[in-house]
Symmetry: C2
Subunit: 243 residues, 2 copies
Amino acid sequence: MDVLWCRGRLVVVRLVIAECSVDYAGRLSAHLPLAKRLLMVKNDGSLLVHSDGGSYKPLNWMSPPCVLTTVEPDETQAAAGITELWKVTHKKTGDALIVSIHEVHHDSAHELGVDPGLQKDGVEAHLQKLLAEQIELLGDGYRLIRREYMTAIGPVDILATDATGASVAVELKRRGDIDGVEQLTRYLELMNRDPLLAPVQGVFAAQEIKPQARTLAQDRGIRCVVLDYDAMRGLDDSDSRLF
Amino acid sequence: MDVLWCRGRLVVVRLVIAECSVDYAGRLSAHLPLAKRLLMVKNDGSLLVHSDGGSYKPLNWMSPPCVLTTVEPDETQAAAGITELWKVTHKKTGDALIVSIHEVHHDSAHELGVDPGLQKDGVEAHLQKLLAEQIELLGDGYRLIRREYMTAIGPVDILATDATGASVAVELKRRGDIDGVEQLTRYLELMNRDPLLAPVQGVFAAQEIKPQARTLAQDRGIRCVVLDYDAMRGLDDSDSRLF
DNA sequence: ATCTTAATTTCGGCA
DNA sequence: TGCCGAAGTTAAGAT
């Protein structure tokens, strides 16, 4: 059991339920008082300390690359009831996580194998692809120049032209927040200094636009467009999808 | 076992190692192909799907408040090898996570009890306290007016005066990003409209300042200051700390 | 309850 | 590899 989970090509996760306290010293200092928790040791040596509640984030953890070593408790620690001492050290930053175990209630190791990984669909990239294909949603006569139009301070999501041939910079978000308006504002400021592009109009397009973002955008002469993702996906021909 | 983990006042976590595929339909669509994984059902009904690798983030999950129901596989599903079907639905958004279980390798429930929670130290609040105490780090003659100086759009981290008595607004970050510069810019814009404060100088202080943020700050006449957290902590008299 | 901001963010893409 | 921006961000604090 001692080193089973880190040897050879086995892909093993170890689950320990234990009464323990945890100390972290790294980018911050943190302490978990003595309580019964779940310790999850992954194959790469990383450690997760979970309680029963909260959401997916552990109470404390150490990310890979890191090494777990078990230290013999000294007399003082043993007298304090510590039976096992785990020290997890980050290989690069030197961050340390120390688990002081008082009692182990459960300990098991399970081989999992390599995970094939998550397949995602429906994020901003897809929204951008759809809007690029359906650029006329912004208005009659709109034409796509290109996606990811590069500027000195980063890529503009979509560059298009309106019916009059004037440039239009589109910033796309799933949720239209104030940050997105700021981002688009920076792009517009820069692009409008370019005599080949100016004048450039701004369009802030999102599935949902927060009132504050809308107010700020309108204040800066940026047009807001709310996108109907489902409708756009329905128009797309590659709409074969799960469920 | 069936409902043990959600009854009464027990605080229980259930651990299942199973060959399964997972589908998520909510803010995005996602699919996990058939593989052996760890399913962690927390007391609040939330579910975490972990593989052996990655960092603390599960491959897929459902956050509380949510409910887990077990559905009987229909004939087609049973023929495909599905023995159990878990459906986790978010109570508010309706997001759904479906776990199709083919084979259970391990199944155990563990009572944990209520967790006392994490004690943190060393985050931005501490940095702010330290800089307020050591405001002269910004320059000779600097004096603290107050921390969390309230404005109409939120609190400025630190308000100070320089050697000439002019107002200085300080925005503090652990990592100085472009967002922080934008934030400070908004504060400065507002404060400089106040005749009692104007003119207000801006200082962007962080443990680390990203090149783009520095460029933007300088372009807007904001001074950048890199803080040495360890040195500042060393000067602090309340430096009794674990380890 | 809603909104704002930080985070030991993590994660992916592209230069 | 490092930087930059998105994320089912999540989570904590303030209004």
